[in-house]
Subunit: 139 residues, 2 copies
DNA sequence: TCAACTGTAACTGATATTATTACAGTATAA
DNA sequence: TTATACTGTAATAATATCAGTTACAGTTGA
């Protein structure tokens, strides 16, 4: 799994946790345990996806725009890490003379695509608010 | 996803396809489209797992020992690629003062572990024989 | 005893990942 | 209007992971 997905979820949950629902990249980065540039890159995607607002300049930062209860991890997964289940390396060769060698690639691809859809469906059942809820229970 | 998982599945399906259910690493490697050393490494794991027999020496190679209809992709996944869903990088810091920063790691870990189990369960429903069946339909 | 295998490790090159640094652009506030 | 505090983005470097290659000792069958 892509770690940008983790950073995106963490950032959104953190913003949802703050009363003002707003923070600059440096503050988010410290909470996430990474550097501000990386957070800004992730937040840039989230902004394009409409999940956060950006305010440049002094006193600026990122602000959550949507209700945490309606944003699911599937939304974020699709934005940040789609295709994580499918391996980058494929076996076989479509031009092989052997039925197995020539068709394995597409068959495995079908299997992985279904797995990917199942993962998305699982993430679809968990919202940012749910994650924050689980965290609060940890106290 | 780990590509050794793909190689393992491909190799087992290929062996199941052969009438004698046996082949040396070089032949398997050609069908898989990789090099023999890599195949041998994967097959070594499968042998330890009891899925194939090894015969060293001239005329040797790997032989399928189990019925392809009882070996599921979940068995192979557990052997070759367990934990693929969990990201290597974790956000947050257990020693953080913030509830979010300190607990995010374990909460996300729980989410990923459940996702992993779901993936295993999906793979559990597909056997080596099923994969071979799908390939034959491609003809 | 030769030839054909496996088992395993070392090494290389390619690719991916994370951190770091830098700087132009933008908004706020004094 | 000027200093300050931000974002956006790219370049670079450090590190880790991945796939291919080579090598060779050990094993077995002919």
């Amino acid at each position: 799994m892509n770690s940008e997905f983790t950073i995106a979820v963490h950032s959104l949950v953190y913003l949802a946790y703050l009363p003002e629902r707003m923070a600059p990249s440096e503050v988010i980065a410290e909470n996430v345990s990474t550097n501000p540039a990386r957070v800004r890159k992730v937040m840039s995607h989230l902004r394009k996806g409409g999940y956060v607002d950006t305010r440049e300049g002094a006193g600026g930062g990122y602000r959550l725009t949507l209700d945490p209860a309606v944003v699911s991890l599937a939304d974020i997964y699709r934005l940040m890490a789609q295709g994580s289940v499918i391996p980058s390396w494929c076996s076989g060769d479509p031009d092989s003379d052997c039925v197995v060698g020539s068709n394995m690639r597409s068959v495995m691809n079908g299997i992985f695509c279904t797995a990917e859809k199942q993962l998305e469906s699982y993430f679809g059942g968990i919202t940012v608010a749910d994650v924050l809820g689980r965290i609060k229970v940890c106290k």
